[in-house]
C-alpha cells in the first residue's frame, strides 16, 4: 500500500472512536493538505450506498479507478459490488492510536510522493492493461504497440535508455517532408531519452484506460503521457538510483536523416526539425530534478508546435512551455486521465467470456481513438501515428476501415478525416482533368497536398526495380471516399453535412464515374483497366467491387443532385448506374470478381497453405495472377459496405465461394470475413478471422508492426464487432441491431454515439439491452421498428427475431 500513489481516498470517518479525537483532527488536516495537492478526498458515511456509488462513478469519469483509490473503513469494504471500487485498496477503520498513526503515516507518505514528484501509479487492471514484449529483439514492435497518441502527436513507446532511436520516436499528424521525391511524415526531435548507466530491464505496461505508459523495473521506473486534454503537451516522470539514472538527456534527432537545430536557454531546451516544404516541428522541454534518498527523480514537461507550411519559432514553444509548467505535471495527468475517461464513455467495448478478445478489442479502439484529432483535418496514414511505414500516406484504409468506427465512437475525429478529403478536392479535380475525365479522382495514396504520392516503382530487396500500378489503376478509392462521407452521415444523423461541406465528396466522385464508365456495344456500362481490393490481379476489367461501388456512388450522387436541383445530371447518373455491368452470374448465384475470373486456374487456398498466407510471396506473382486465389475480400467487400447494392441472398454463396479462395494476405481481410461470417449466422467460425485481426499487431503476424500499427485492421476489428457480431447498421431514422454472438462469449457490449446521442448496446445470446439517453428507434433482427425510450429497454432476440442475412435499412 505504501508504495502506491493513490489519486483518490474515500474515508468513512463515522466509525472513528471518540477516544481518538485528537488524532482525528490531525487526520482531517492531512486530508486538506492532500486535497490541496490534487488528490481527491471524500468523507462518506458507509451506510449511504447511493453516495458511495455516485462517488465511485464520478471518480471513474475522471479516470480514477481500482488501485488508484484507497478506501479507509471496514464497512466500505462491503461495497465491493460497485464495479469501480472492486479493485480499490482497502484499509481498516482505525480503532486505536496505532491504527490512527498508521493512517497518518499513509497520508503523509501520499503527501511526500506528490511533493517529491515521484512516478505516479496506474490502475493495473488486467482487462485494461497490455504488457508489452520484454525481449530486446522485439524492442521496435514494443515501441509501436506502446505508442501514446492524442490524434495530433504520436510518441512511440521506446524505452528511455535505448539510443539512438532506430525508428522515429515521434510523429505529428499531417506534417510531411519529401525524401527522394516521396513525402513521408517528418521525424520530430526526440524528447524521451534518459541517461541511464546500465542496461535496464523492467516491464512496460500500456494502460489503455488512461493512455499512460508505465515502466517498472529494478533500476528504473517511468511514466509517460501524451496529453489527450491538451494536444501540445507531453510529460515524463522517471525515478531510479542516482548512481544509475543520470541527468536528463539532450533533445536528439528523431532519425538519422533529419537534422535538428537546438536552442538552449536557462532551464529550457528546444529543438526543431525542418521539412522540405518549409514547415517543421519544434519541441521544447523543461526538466525538474531532485534527489530523494538514493533516488534521482526527474520530471520532464514537453511541448510541441508544428506546421506543414512554416517552422514554429522558439517564442511560440517557449510560451507554450511556460504555460505547461504553470499547469504542472499532476494537473496535466489528472486532466489527461479525465479526457481519456470521456473518450471511453462513448467507445468502450466489453466482451464477457473472453478476456483475451476483450483486451485485444480495447487495444484496437485505444489506438483508433489516438490516431485522429477531433478538430481541423486529419490525414490518417495506414499506420496512424505509431510508425513511419508507408511514409504516413493516406489510403482507403482511412475511409473504409477507420472512419466508420470513428463515426460511431468519436464523430468529431471522423469529421476531421472528411475535412482532410474536402481540403484535397481541388487536387482530386485536377487529377481527373489530367486524364481527361470529369469530377474528382482521389489518389490511391495521399499526403499533404492531395496529389497522388503512390510510388511508381520501388527497389526490391535485391536491388531490382519493381513497378507499382496501384496509383494508376486502383480507382475504387474514389467511391470509397464518397461512401465514407455517407456512412458518417448514417452514424451521426447529420444530412446537412452532405448538403453542405461534404456535398462535393459525393457529387464530384459521381461525376468522375459518369465520365469513367464506357457504354459499349452490349449496351452495358463497363470500367476497364483497374485493380480491385484483391491486388493479386492487376489491370482487370469490370472488377465487381469497383463497379458496384461506382454504381452506388452514382445513385447516391443522383439522390443528392436531385436535392440540389441538378435533375438532368441526376437522371444521367441513374441511367449509367443502371447499365453498369456488375459481374452478377445468375446461374452460379455468384459475382464474378472481374471479367475472365471464372477461367483462371481454380486453385483453392487449402491446396496451397493454411491462411493467412502471403500467397504471392509463396507462389510468385505470375502463378497467383493466373489463379483464382485472392488476397482479400473483394466481392465480399461489397456485401460488407453496400449490402443494398447486391442481389438478395447472395452473401452466403459468395462467402462460401470466395472464402475458399482467400489467402488473407492483406491485413484488411480477416476482420471483414469475421463480420460477414457473423452476419451469415456463423459467429463461432467468425471468431477465427476475428482473432487473426485481433492478434495481428499484438503477435506481429506481419513482421512489420515495428513500422507502425495496422490501423485499418483495428478499424476492421471494431466493424466486425459492431456490424458483424452485434449486427448494427445505422439507418436514416433507426438503428438496426441483429446480434450473432459466438458461443464462447456470454455478452458483447458496445458504447457508441448514434445520431449524436450516447447509446450502450449489450448483446447477449437471447436478448439485447439498450441504454440510451434520448429516444431511439431500433429494429431488432428482421422485426418491426420499435421505440426505445431513456433510460433504455431490453429486447428478446429469440429465433423469431433472427434473420439469416442482415437486412438492409
Amino acid at each position: 500500500v505504501d508504495a502506491t500513489r493513490f489519486e483518490a481516498i474515500i474515508v468513512d470517518s463515522s466509525g472513528w472512536s471518540v477516544a481518538a479525537a485528537g488524532l482525528e483532527e490531525a487526520l482531517r488536516a492531512r486530508c486538506d493538505d492532500l486535497r490541496a495537492a490534487g488528490m481527491v478526498v471524500h468523507d462518506v458515511d458507509s451506510g449511504d450506498a447511493a453516495a458511495i456509488a455516485e462517488i465511485a462513478a464520478s471518480l471513474a469519469a475522471r479516470g480514477i479507478t481500482g488501485r488508484l483509490i484507497a478506501v479507509v473503513g471496514d464497512k466500505l469494504a462491503g461495497h465491493g459490488d460497485v464495479p469501480e471500487l472492486r479493485r480499490a485498496v482497502h484499509t481498516p477503520t482505525p480503532d486505536d492510536d496505532a491504527g490512527f498513526d498508521s493512517l497518518i503515516r499513509l497520508l503523509d507518505h501520499q503527501l511526500s510522493l506528490r511533493a517529491d514528484r515521484r512516478v505516479p501509479a496506474i490502475d493495473d487492471d488486467p482487462s485494461w492493461v497490455v504488457p508489452l514484449p520484454t525481449d530486446p529483439v522485439m524492442d521496435r514492435v514494443s515501441e509501436a504497440l506502446g505508442t501514446l497518441a492524442n490524434g495530433w502527436v504520436g510518441v512511440r513507446g521506446r524505452r528511455e535508455d535505448r539510443q539512438p532511436a532506430t525508428v522515429s520516436p515521434m510523429l505529428v499528424s499531417g506534417v510531411y517532408t519529401d525524401a527522394d521525391g516521396q513525402p513521408r511524415l517528418l521525424a520530430a526531435p526526440d524528447w524521451t531519452t534518459l541517461t541511464v548507466d546500465v542496461s535496464t530491464d523492467g516491464s512496460q505496461l500500456l494502460d489503455l484506460r488512461s493512455g499512460l505508459l508505465l515502466r517498472r523495473g529494478r533500476v528504473l521506473r517511468t511514466l509517460r503521457l501524451v496529453s489527450a486534454a491538451r494536444l501540445d503537451a507531453m510529460g515524463l516522470r522517471a525515478e531510479g538510483r542516482a548512481s544509475t539514472l543520470g541527468h536528463p538527456a539532450a533533445l536528439a534527432p528523431g532519425d538519422s536523416s533529419t537534422p535538428i537545430e537546438v536552442c538552449t536557454a536557462p532551464k529550457i531546451q528546444a529543438a526543431r526539425a525542418r521539412s522540405s516544404d518549409g514547415g517543421g516541428i519544434t519541441v521544447a522541454v523543461q526538466d525538474h530534478e531532485n534527489i530523494v534518498g538514493k533516488l534521482r527523480v526527474i520530471e520532464r514537461l514537453a511541448t510541441v508546435a508544428a506546421d506543414q507550411r512554416s517552422v514554429p519559432d522558439w517564442d511560440r514553444v517557449t510560451n507554450q512551455l511556460d504555460d505547461l509548467v504553470a499547469t504542472g505535471f499532476d494537473r496535466l495527468l489528472a486532466d489527461h486521465r479525465e479526457a481519456w475517461a470521456q473518450r471511453w464513455a462513448n467507445a468502450r467495448v466489453d466482451i464477457e467470456g473472453s478476456p483475451g478478445d476483450e483486451l485485444a478489442a480495447r487495444f484496437a479502439v485505444f489506438h483508433l481513438l489516438g490516431s485522429t484529432p477531433g478538430e481541423g483535418e486529419a490525414a490518417v496514414g495506414a499506420r496512424g501515428l505509431s510508425g513511419p511505414a508507408y511514409g504516413g500516406h493516406v489510403f482507403w484504409d482511412a475511409d473504409v476501415f477507420v472512419l466508420p468506427a470513428l463515426a460511431a465512437i468519436h464523430p468529431a475525429a471522423a469529421r476531421a478525416m472528411l475535412e482532410y478529403r474536402i481540403g484535397r478536392l481541388p487536387a482530386a479535380r485536377r487529377a481527373a482533368q489530367a486524364v481527361g475525365l470529369a469530377g474528382a479522382r482521389f489518389p490511391w495514396e495521399s499526403a499533404a497536398t492531395g496529389r497522388d504520392v503512390t510510388p511508381r516503382r520501388v527497389m526490391g530487396t535485391g536491388g531490382e526495380v519493381i513497378p507499382i500500378h496501384t496509383g494508376e489503376w486502383e480507382e475504387h478509392i474514389v467511391a470509397d471516399v464518397a461512401w465514407a462521407a455517407s456512412e458518417y452521415v448514417s452514424w451521426t444523423g447529420q444530412p446537412e453535412f452532405l448538403h453542405g461541406p461534404g456535398a462535393d465528396l459525393v457529387l464530384d466522385t459521381a461525376r468522375y464515374w459518369a465520365s469513367r464508365v464506357t457504354t459499349e456495344g452490349d449496351g452495358r456500362g463497363h470500367i476497364r483497366g483497374v485493380i480491385g481490393p484483391d491486388e493479386y490481379h492487376e489491370d482487370v476489367d469490370d472488377n465487381a467491387f469497383t463497379n458496384v461501388m461506382a454504381r452506388w456512388n452514382l445513385r447516391r450522387g443522383a439522390d443528392l443532385a436531385d436535392d440540389k436541383g441538378l435533375a438532368s445530371e441526376a437522371a444521367g447518373w441513374r441511367q449509367i448506374a443502371a447499365s453498369l455491368f456488375d459481374g452478377w452470374d445468375a446461374e452460379r448465384q455468384l459475382y464474378e470478381q472481374f471479367a475472365g475470373y471464372w477461367s483462371l486456374e481454380p486453385l483453392l487456398i487449402d491446396q496451397v497453405a493454411v491462411p493467412p498466407v502471403a500467397a504471392d510471396v509463396l507462389l510468385g506473382d505470375a502463378r497467383v495472377r493466373g489463379s483464382q486465389l485472392i488476397k482479400q475480400a473483394d466481392v465480399l467487400m461489397v456485401h460488407h459496405l453496400v449490402p443494398e447494392e447486391v442481389e438478395p441472398g447472395s452473401l452466403r454463396p459468395n462467402l462460401s465461394f470466395y472464402e475458399a479462395r482467400t489467402a488473407h494476405g492483406s491485413s484488411l481481410s480477416p476482420a471483414i470475413h469475421a463480420a460477414l461470417l457473423a452476419r451469415c449466422g456463423e459467429p463461432d467460425r467468425a471468431l477465427v478471422p476475428f482473432r487473426m485481426a485481433a492478434r495481428l499487431d499484438l503477435d506481429d503476424l506481419t513482421g512489420t508492426t515495428s513500422g507502425g500499427l495496422h490501423l485499418a485492421t483495428m478499424g476492421g476489428l471494431w466493424q466486425a464487432l459492431a456490424y458483424g457480431f452485434c449486427g448494427l447498421r445505422p439507418g436514416r431514422d433507426l438503428l438496426n441491431i441483429d446480434p450473432q454472438l459466438p458461443s464462447e462469449w456470454s455478452a458483447l457490449a458496445l458504447h457508441l454515439l448514434f445520431h449524436d446521442a450516447p447509446v450502450r448496446i449489450r448483446a447477449e445470446h437471447d436478448r439485447v439491452v439498450i441504454d440510451c439517453t434520448c429516444p431511439l428507434t431500433v429494429r431488432i433482427g428482421a422485426g418491426r421498428p420499435q421505440s426505445c425510450r431513456p433510460p433504455g429497454h431490453t429486447f428478446a432476440t429469440g429465433d423469431g427475431h433472427r434473420h439469416p442475412q442482415r437486412t438492409t435499412p
Binding site: 530487396t461 502471403a614 504471392d616 503476424l701 513482421g703 512489420t704
Partner: protein, 250 residues
C-alpha cells in the same frame, strides 16, 4: 594472438585449402598455421606451406583424432578443411574426416569444396543464410562477427518456405523491405543488407551465392548429421562453389 588452422593433405585440393586459409587470415587477422597428419611422404604439404610462408606442423596418429585435437588447440579460432568427398567421381557433401571434425568441434570450420579453384582475391562478401531466431543468429552474432576484422559486406539471406512465409503482407513490393529490415534488426544487426527468396533453402543459397558473387557462405548448424538432420547444410555443401563456414550452434 589467434591462429587459424589449415588442414593440408596430399590431395590436389590442399593448395586450395591453404589459399582459402590465407584469405580467411586476412579476414580475421589470425595467423595461419598449416597442419598435416602423416600418412606417407610429407613433401607435398611441406612444399605448399613453404611456398606460402606458413609454418607447418606435422602430426602423427589417427587422422581424425589428430585433426580434431589440433582444431581444439589453445589460440585456434577456426580451421579450414577440404571436403574431400569426390571418391569414385561422384560428388558427395563431405568426407568422413571433415564430418568427424565438424560434428565434434566447438569452433567454426571452413569446408573447401573439392572442385574449387585457388582463392586469390580477398574475401569481401560473406553470404549468411539465416532462418531467424536466436538459435540460428546467435552463432553469427557471437562467433562470426567478433572474428571478422576486415571491412566486408555481410549479406544475409532469408529463404521463405511454405512453413515460414509471412502470413500477412499487405504490399509485398514495399513490405518485404520493411520485413527484411526488421529481420536484420532482430537477427543480425551487423549485416550490410538482406536478400529474400522463396523456395528450397539450399538451392536458393547456392543461387544467391552465384548472383551475389559471394566469397564465402556462413551457416550455423546443429552438428547432427544423422539422416533427416542438417539437410540444408548437406545440400549446400554438395553444390557450393565457394568455401562454406560452419559454425556450431551451441
Amino acid at each position: 594472438m589467434t591462429t587459424l588452422l589449415a588442414a593440408l593433405d596430399t590431395s590436389p585440393s590442399a593448395a586450395v585449402v591453404l589459399s582459402t586459409a590465407l584469405q580467411l587470415g586476412e579476414l580475421t587477422g589470425a595467423t595461419i598455421e598449416a597442419v598435416h597428419v602423416r600418412e606417407g611422404p610429407t613433401d607435398s604439404p611441406e612444399w605448399l606451406a613453404a611456398q606460402a610462408g606458413v609454418h607447418l606442423r606435422v602430426l602423427d596418429g589417427p587422422v581424425r583424432e589428430c585433426l580434431l585435437a589440433a582444431v581444439g588447440g589453445v589460440g585456434v579460432v577456426a580451421a579450414v578443411l577440404g571436403a574431400r568427398a569426390t571418391a569414385s567421381g561422384r560428388r558427395r557433401a563431405i568426407g568422413g574426416t571433415a564430418l568427424h571434425v565438424l560434428e565434434l568441434t566447438d569452433k567454426p570450420v571452413a569446408v573447401v569444396p573439392p572442385d574449387m579453384t585457388q582463392a586469390t582475391e580477398p574475401f569481401r562478401r560473406l553470404l549468411v543464410p539465416l532462418e531467424g531466431g536466436e538459435q540460428s543468429s546467435a552463432p553469427i552474432i557471437d562467433t562470426l562477427c567478433p572474428l571478422v576484422v576486415a571491412d566486408v559486406e555481410l549479406v544475409v539471406l532469408h529463404v521463405f518456405t511454405a512453413a515460414t512465409i509471412p502470413p500477412v503482407m499487405d504490399r509485398p513490393n514495399r513490405d518485404l523491405a520493411m520485413w527484411g529490415s526488421e529481420f536484420l534488426a532482430r537477427n543480425c544487426p551487423n549485416a550490410s543488407r538482406i536478400e529474400l527468396r522463396t523456395g528450397s533453402i539450399a538451392s536458393r543459397v547456392n543461387d544467391v551465392c552465384l548472383e551475389e558473387r559471394a566469397d564465402l557462405i556462413v551457416l550455423s548448424w546443429s552438428q547432427h548429421s544423422s539422416p533427416g538432420r542438417a539437410t540444408v547444410v548437406r545440400d549446400v555443401l554438395t553444390h557450393a562453389t565457394v568455401p562454406v563456414v560452419l559454425i556450431p550452434a551451441r
